[in-house]
């Protein structure tokens, strides 16, 4: 997949999932699969979900743009219910995340490994902006970074979510986050949690155990205008 360069795009515009600069022609459909029951980290979770389907969202349309400064992903998927509020104990918010390798060799399947961090940018429907940025060096080791750098916007209509998750290509950080460069490629993965199905933590639909490839377009002059 390509992250097209859009010269001079304002962040606010990028963050609008309905902005004209997003066009479905540029989006790719990725199939999603539920994380395996056996990979759920505790017996209690495995026991509770033994007879339930993990990964309610079957697929997602992805598109990526950058303006030389920010990289933005637009996700669109089917979801019969809009789960924005965590206003009761059995309510969970819809959420999505983009995972990126912080360096060569970081494994996606285990959400990183010691010394081989995975960096994820999170959107949650009940607490959109700023989103959350985490690094992880193995299952259950996620830590949230402060200050938040990820920006998100989400909009649900007629059974479909349209969400934009964005971050600066390069950030100042001592943490092992993904540092991205126009003209270079990076891996990425997508996870979507359907709040309406009580999905959270490791109970999600993911794009796979291997990285998808994203080519970040070069920031040429005379590129697409916003």
């Amino acid at each position: 997949m390509k992250a097209r360069y859009v010269a001079g795009a304002q962040l606010e515009l990028l963050l609008d999932p309905d902005a004209a600069l997003w066009s479905s022609a540029g989006s790719e459909h990725l199939k999603l699969e539920g994380t395996p029951l056996g990979m759920q980290p505790t017996d209690a979770i495995r026991s509770s979900w033994a007879d339930k389907k993990i990964g309610a969202v079957a697929g997602v349309d992805v598109e990526a743009l950058h303006d030389g400064r920010h990289l933005a992903f637009r996700l669109e998927w089917s979801d019969p219910t809009e789960n924005r509020a965590v206003d009761d104990n059995d309510r969970f918010a819809d959420a999505a995340a983009i995972a990126l390798p912080s360096q060569e060799g970081s494994p996606l399947v285990t959400m990183g490994a010691p010394g081989l961090a995975v960096n994820a940018w999170y959107w949650r429907a009940d607490d959109e902006d700023p989103g959350r940025e985490v690094v992880s060096e193995g299952l259950g080791t996620t830590r949230t970074l402060d200050p938040p750098t990820v920006k998100c916007r989400g909009s649900w209509r007629a059974g479909r979510w349209r969400v934009v998750i964005a971050r600066e290509l390069r950030v100042e950080s001592a943490e092992p986050v993904a540092q991205l460069t126009p003209g270079e490629a990076t891996g990425f993965g997508i996870a979507i949690w359907d709040g309406g199905s009580s999905e959270r933590a490791g109970l999600k639909a993911v794009s796979g155990f291997q990285w998808e490839i994203l080519e970040i377009g070069a920031a040429k002059k005379g590129g697409e205008q916003a």
């Binding site: 026991s47 509770s48 607490d127 259950g140 009580s198 959270r200 933590a201």
Partner: protein
């Protein structure tokens, strides 16, 4: 199994609990006053038989059977009993005269933390009930700790108190599903799970838990399980009259109960019927396991000794002549603490 070096425990004497809820209020006024905590009662007291808090918690699963984790339900705020809001200003200052009256606002509530108080079971004149206070059991085999994928729940090494690390917690609430006692709450403002902390800030300063220290009924003993000089050990391990609630849940709780003895029931002629205990045996067995019947016999035998003027170590332990000695060394008076500036 999570082994800590020492284990703090509590014994509650159900022959002394009068259902006053001072424990619930003591806890509430200390720990659960902030936003998101309004509906939380880390300490609950329920009339048994009754549906409890949360409603029908004993049918919500969780815990272990034969070492396997069982699936459990997430109780809703309504099932715990949501915090009601009232319209005092409207009634007092709204200028509506008798048209306004004070009541919970919004939809009529259908459950609360003490909804079925003093209703009981059985049939008049053989009705029965007693009071059951509950806190987190700080289990030795905590289902909550084992359920958390982020290892956000810890059992303290030094004293076995089970705590939720609220910095690590993401509010996934697997712990809430897993706990068979349904003693974990979700804070919607902070988006973390929260529960009884066994008053660790007080414990750390040698002060007993608020629920224990403030109980006017002198129901609660606190102490280390291994402290053989103190009441906990004597009641749990020596005399064995203090039993865990629902040992069948498999979590090895560290809160124990001395079971209640009710007055005798009547037969159809209005005579006392010693053959039929007012609280049915099956009911107590369903709560405390089959050992409870033997415990009742021990209690009755020791009470009989006292009635005849003989000595009884057990009765003296339960009477607890000196209130301070109920707390296994955690008997410091909090009012003697002066906090210096941080």
């Amino acid at each position: 199994m999570t082994k800590s070096d020492r284990q703090l425990a509590m014994v509650l004497d159900l022959n002394k609990c009068i259902g006053c809820h001072t424990c619930s209020i003591a806890c509430k006024r200390l720990w659960t006053r902030d936003e998101g905590m309004e509906y939380m009662w880390w300490n609950t007291v329920n009339t048994q038989p009754g549906r409890g808090t949360p409603r029908d918690w004993q049918e919500m699963g969780g815990g272990f059977r034969d070492g396997q984790a069982l699936p459990g339900k997430l109780p809703t705020r309504g099932e715990f009993g949501d915090a009601w809001k009232f319209n005092h200003e409207e009634v007092f200052y709204g200028g509506k005269g008798e048209k306004a009256h004070l009541k919970p606002q919004g939809k009529d509530p259908h459950w609360g933390p003490n909804w079925d108080e003093d209703q009981g079971g059985g049939e008049y004149p053989n009705a029965y009930y007693f009071y059951l206070p509950r806190i987190c059991n700080h289990c030795t085999h905590p289902a909550c700790l084992e359920a958390c994928p982020r290892k956000a729940i810890e059992k303290r090494q030094q004293d076995g108190i089970v705590v939720i690390n609220e910095d690590r917690c993401r509010g996934y609430r697997f712990c809430m599903e897993a706990c068979p006692y349904k003693k974990i709450y979700f804070n919607h403002a902070e988006k973390v799970s929260q529960k009884c902390i066994f008053c660790f800030p007080r414990i750390e300063q040698g002060v007993a838990n608020a629920c224990a220290r403030q109980c006017p009924g002198r129901v609660r003993f606190v102490g280390y399980r291994d402290d053989q000089a103190a009441p906990i050990y004597k009641l749990v391990d020596k005399w064995k009259v203090a039993l865990p609630l629902h040992p069948d849940y498999g979590t090895e709780p560290n809160v124990f109960y001395v079971p209640p003895i009710a007055p005798p029931s009547f037969d159809e002629n209005g005579d006392l019927d010693p053959s039929k205990p007012r609280i049915p045996d099956e009911y107590l067995v369903s709560l405390f396991g089959p050992e409870v019947l033997e415990v009742l016999e021990v209690l009755k035998a020791e009470m009989a000794k006292k009635r005849e003027g003989a000595e009884s170590e057990l009765m003296d332990l339960l009477i607890a002549y000196k209130w301070k000695e109920m707390f296994g060394g955690f008997d410091r008076d909090p009012a003697t603490i002066e906090w210096t500036g941080s």
